[in-house]
């Protein structure tokens, strides 16, 4: 399902994606010829019940997983035609992740966690450190640089995860239930910080979520239905910070 955008070329285009999983003796089609486009600078929210295929779609869009049929094109690169290693290299250069369970590396400090994607991309030491410090300040944790993840609260950990996802300036940020593990108040705080940051950096974001706080920031909302997506009514958008 695509929605034309008057001024922009789509940064991401998913075309006719099919993904089937084997569950015991049966096969279940999670994505059923799904198509969608996302435009540069957009914040897209995907809605759907558990198991509807939201995470599967994020895995396919990021190149973590491979579709049975169909293709994913990001900024002119058909990532489904790439080999595993090339997909990995593409992912680390152009995609940032925010997970529900934060997924920080417990054996690295907060600063090191933020520096990791930049290090994998071969940034020099100065640039890594400068950018990590800057984003740490942006998420409001400048004094926690040398803490380990298990010394932070859930909300703090997710703020570090957001900084990590943005610090190497990826073209696309994928979020899987970013506020799912947080209480209402913390969720609000985190989603506010997240929204401000993506708007400031002009990042393109796709969020799979149930959180109504996130709905408010969405440019487009899609609803999962029987393995494909349909546009849902977007709530009145909050003015940009």
């Amino acid at each position: 399902m695509t929605e034309p955008h008057p001024a922009n070329k789509p940064i991401l285009h998913a075309d006719n994606l099919v993904k089937t999983y084997r569950e015991g003796e049966k096969e279940r089609m999670v994505l059923n010829h799904l198509s969608m486009s996302v435009y540069r600078g957009d914040l897209v929210v995907l809605l759907g019940r558990s198991g509807s295929g939201k995470s599967t779609l994020l895995n396919l869009l990021s190149g973590i997983d491979h579709p049975d049929k169909g293709s994913v094109t990001i900024d002119g690169h058909n990532i489904t035609s790439l080999g595993e290693k090339q997909r990995t290299l593409f992912r680390r250069a152009h995609i940032g992740f925010v997970f529900q369970a934060y997924n920080l590396i417990p054996t690295l400090t907060v600063l090191e966690n933020i520096m990791l994607p930049m290090e994998l991309n071969g940034f020099d030491e100065h640039r890594k450190s400068e950018s990590a410090q800057k984003y740490l300040e942006e998420v409001g944790l400048p004094d926690r640089a040398s803490s380990y993840p298990d010394q932070l609260s859930g909300g703090e950990q997710q703020r570090v995860a957001i900084a990590r996802a943005l610090a190497h300036k990826p073209r696309l940020i994928l979020c899987d239930e970013p506020t799912g593990n947080l209480d209402h108040k913390t969720g609000l705080l985190v989603s506010g910080i997240f929204h401000d940051l993506v708007k400031k950096t002009g990042s393109t974001v796709i969020i799979a979520t149930h959180d109504p706080n996130m709905h408010r920031f969405a440019d487009h909302i899609y609803q999962f239905h029987e393995g494909t997506v349909q546009p849902a009514d977007a709530p009145e958008k909050q003015p940009d910070a």
Partner: protein, 873 residues
């Protein structure tokens, strides 16, 4: 899109290292495991090489500049040969030597005694000539005087003029120290450490070699310089010179010497003697490799565990863009973080362990092969380099598969927990088939042409790997059988304990395999030693038919040093109560197969009964005393590839003669084998009348225990000899046997220790990883005591399974050691024995190791607040 993905991520590396710092106990156990494996290999190698180096150094130092040596047909050479060589043939660059071994009593230390003529020494040995400061007046005073190296004198705390109490050939001699030799360098210091230099006549007195020499040293230039005229003439008539040809100076010189006297290149005898220990050393090395193999399982286990535990983390890294190669290198880098300190620690430990093992290795070489005295471990750089690469190589090899596993799994799967266990359960049939294939390949290696000892060990390795791959299937099968029993005995916790082994198959099967291999190795080596012991015991029973045995004290079972005094022999043979006797002489002869050991026996009705033949020609005993025939031991036939009817050419005092092999008999006294000849035949071909042992038969009414002190009393003052009853000799022989296997037993213990550490770390890791599951059980009402029972129960089940599984593998290993490796190493046929005590002991070791391994984690888990364990990260 970036095109390069260099592995320069210090953060990935830092993350991996910190993971290990957070689990220091697991890290330390892994390091200790690899360290022990490396230490065992390094120590055996150092002990072997130190003994060999000491032997070669002392051999080289006493050989000096000699290019050739003249030997007699037997183990001694008539001194008349030397006189003829110097005076009649006019060969000046020659020096007579009488060699033997003696010991000091306080402290007990053995020495090589070199009897020389200082006037003839100068071209040969710098340390024993007049130039070295040997004063003829004190050296050739007619008294027993000798020279020692300065460092040896310091060690013995003696000075020139002091007297040393020396024992040689069973007799005590006070030896006055005439002077000290100052070693020129470190090499000479070590080479001369165990040497006493005496005048040739003194050595003849010490070793009962009146009018005989051990050998004559020669400098025989190939261009003929300095050679007697007739040889120079012969050489100029036919050129070029070819070694071994009729125009070779050595052969020409030999032709001018009496029959049976041979000229050999110096060092060739040293080489022959040094090679005797080849099979012994190879077997020790193989046993030490077994410990390293178990150590490899430990590394594999540790790395697998760290990978399994970090699968979600690896998933995150992959999602963030770390490539498979980067993950693989991260895991291998972590393995090196264990392997490098483990290896360095192992090499240090190996040097220390070598000091301990050296005495046993040296003792065995002395008991079985030749006399060597090693005072210290020589740290050979090559051994250390080998140890380093073995340790690192074993670590990397053991980590390759888990590293590949970590990097290969798709990110989607990595993010799921316990996928590996589920996959392992699914893959069990495939793994089992591969395991069976390995076992079949292992059996196939046994039938490879060439029948080498290496293929025996390769077969053993394949069977071990095959059995490890079968372990998951066997565990699953055993668990389904044990579960209802455990349920009946211990209720639900019992069932859970057994089921837990299968649920965590990915980890439990590796831990179990490591324990199975170590315990099976213990069973295998144990059963082999038991089989050997039983075989030797029954062989001794049939071999020792006489009631009393007399021999001169020697330094080795080769026992070539001295003979019994003829006066004593006559006295003992005619002592009241003695009804019959036969004599034995052990000597060395030169045959077409090389330098061989010969036993010369007087045959009588009883002696004939003591031989148990594998193969014999008809009418053997009639021919034995009358024809040029010999008997060969099974190991001689094996090592030299001869059988009944073949001919051995022996260099006798009457020249070269052919002797037919009339029988091949079982014998376990020498792994290099020996030949046996009748005394009557020997006397026809050799001049030596030496008798080195006597067997006495007593009257039916004589009490042996009374007769022995009586015989000792009669022999006092003539010669100090060992007089033993049949039973006493058997016990002494078994004592040597047990001493020989001490190193083997130490190796076995160390292999089990490595496995124990492996099981300890694997089970501790496993139980700690399950702390959340345990907390859920605690939250649901399981008491700390019940939890303790559950954890210990599970480790106990693993121990029980490992014990059971190790029995068939251990028996197969023992069978290969007995029927293939021993046979191919030494040519011995052993009676295979399965002793139930050994199997029970193995079960106990396995269960105890596993239960001990579970104690700490279960205590730790019961001490933890369930709320802490239930809390998310």
């Amino acid at each position: 899109m970036p095109s390069k993905s260099p592995y320069n991520s210090g953060l990935l590396w830092r993350s991996g290292i910190r993971y290990h710092f957070r689990r220091p106990w697991l890290y330390v156990l892994s390091v200790v495991g690899i360290a022990l494996g490396v230490a065992v290999v390094v120590s055996i190698d150092l002990a072997n090489s130190s003994a060999e180096k000491a032997f070669r150094m002392s051999a080289e130092s006493v050989t000096g500049a000699a290019t050739h040596q003249i030997y007699g047909a037997g183990s001694r050479l008539d001194e008349e040969v030397y006189r003829t060589l110097r005076t009649e043939t006019g060969f000046r660059k020659s020096a007579p030597v009488v060699e033997g071994h003696a010991s000091t009593t306080d402290p007990i230390r053995s020495f090589q005694v070199l009897g020389i003529d200082p006037l003839a020494e100068e071209p040969f040995r710098s340390f024993s000539s007049q130039q070295a400061g040997i004063e003829l007046s004190t050296f050739m005073s007619g008294q027993i005087t000798g020279f020692l190296s300065e460092t040896t004198a310091e060690a013995l705390q003696v000075a020139p003029g002091d007297t040393l109490d020396l024992t040689a050939g069973g007799n005590h001699y006070p030896m006055q120290i005439a002077g000290l030799i100052q070693p020129e360098d470190e090499y000479s210091r070590q080479a001369l450490e165990n040497l006493i230099i005496v005048d040739i006549s003194t050595a003849q007195k010490l070793f009962g070699m009146d009018k005989y020499l051990s050998r004559i040293d020669l400098i025989l230039p190939e261009d003929g310089t300095g050679l007697p005229e007739h040889i120079t003439r012969a050489l100029s008539e036919s050129s070029p010179t070819q070694a071994g040809s009729a125009t070779d100076p050595a052969r020409l010189l030999e032709a001018s010497l009496p029959d049976g006297v041979s000229v050999v290149r110096s060092g060739s005898r040293t080489e022959t003697v040094a090679q005797m220990t080849r099979a012994f050393e190879l077997n020790l090395q193989a046993l030490s490799m077994l410990a390293l193999l178990v150590g490899m399982f430990l590394i594999y286990n540790t790395i697998t565990f760290t990978v399994v535990q970090r699968r979600p983390l690896i998933g995150r890294l992959r999602a963030l863009g770390a490539t498979r190669g980067e993950i693989q290198r991260m895991i291998l880098g972590e393995a090196l973080f264990i392997g490098i300190p483990g290896t360095i620690l192992g090499m240090t430990g190996g040097i220390l362990l070598a000091q301990f093992l050296l005495q046993y290795v040296t003792q065995t070489i002395n008991d079985l092969y030749f006399v060597v005295s090693v005072q210290q471990v020589t740290i050979a750089p090559l051994t250390l380099i080998k140890g380093f690469f073995l340790g690192i190589g074993a670590t990397l090899l053991a980590s390759l598969w888990p590293a590949r596993e970590a990097s290969r799994a798709p990110v989607r799967i990595v993010l799921q927990r316990s996928e590996k266990d589920a996959r392992l359960r699914r893959n069990t049939p495939v793994l089992s088939l591969i395991g069976l294939l390995f076992i079949l390949m292992g059996i196939g290696f046994l039938f490879l042409p060439g029948e080498t000892i290496i293929s025996g060990y390769v077969s053993l390795l394949h069977i071990i790997i095959g059995f490890s791959l079968l372990t998951p299937l066997l565990i699953t099968m055993m668990a389904s059988l044990l579960r209802p029993v455990a349920g009946l005995l211990f209720g639900l916790p019992g069932k859970m304990a057994v089921r837990g082994v299968v649920t965590d198959l990915g980890r439990t099967s590796v831990a179990t395999s490591a324990l199975v291999i170590a315990v099976a190795a213990a069973i295998g080596v144990g059963l082999m030693v038991d089989s050997f012991r039983v075989t030797v015991d029954s062989w001794l029973e049939s071999q020792l038919q006489a009631d009393i045995y007399i021999q001169s004290p020697g330094f080795s079972t080769r026992g070539l040093d001295s003979g019994l005094d003829p006066e004593l022999i006559a006295l003992l043979r005619n002592a009241p109560g003695v009804s019959g006797s036969h004599s034995v002489q052990r000597t060395e002869i030169q045959t077409n197969q090389g330098l061989d050991r010969l036993t010369v026996v007087e045959t009588d009705r009883e002696a004939v009964q003591s031989y148990n033949f594998r193969e014999r020609s008809p009418g053997l005993w009639d021919r034995f005393d009358n024809e040029p025939v010999i008997l060969a031991t099974e190991s001689y036939a094996f090592n030299n590839d001869v059988s009944v009817g073949d001919t051995i050419t022996i260099n006798t005092d009457r020249g070269e003669h052919n002797f037919a092999i009339a029988g091949i008999y079982y014998d376990y006294s020498s792994d290099t084998g020996l030949l046996t000849m009748s005394r009557t035949v020997y006397d026809r071909f050799f001049d030596s009348k030496v008798i080195s042992g006597l067997a006495l038969y007593t009257d039916a009414d004589t009490d042996i225990e009374t007769l022995i002190p009586d015989l000792r009393e009669r022999s006092a003052g003539i010669q100090n000899v060992i007089i033993q009853s049949n039973q006493g000799l058997r016990e002494a022989s078994m004592e040597i046997f047990d001493r020989t296997f001490t190193v083997t037993i130490v190796m076995r213990f160390l292999a089990v220790l490595v496995a124990f550490i492996g099981v300890l770390s694997a089970l501790m890791a496993l139980q700690f990883e399950r702390s959340r599951e345990m907390a859920v059980l605690r939250a649901n009402g399981l008491t700390p005591g019940q939890l303790w029972g559950l954890v210990t129960g599970q480790t106990g089940v693993i121990g029980f399974m490992a014990g059971l599984l190790s029995i068939p593998l251990g028996i197969v290993m023992a069978a290969i050691l007995v029927y293939v490796i021993n046979l191919r190493s030494f040519g011995w046929t052993l009676q295979f024995q399965i002793t139930p005590e050994m199997l029970i002991q193995a079960m106990l070791v396995a269960v105890t190791a596993a239960i001990l391994a579970g104690l700490y984690p279960s205590w730790k888990i019961t001490q933890t607040n369930p709320a802490d364990a239930l809390r998310d990260e």
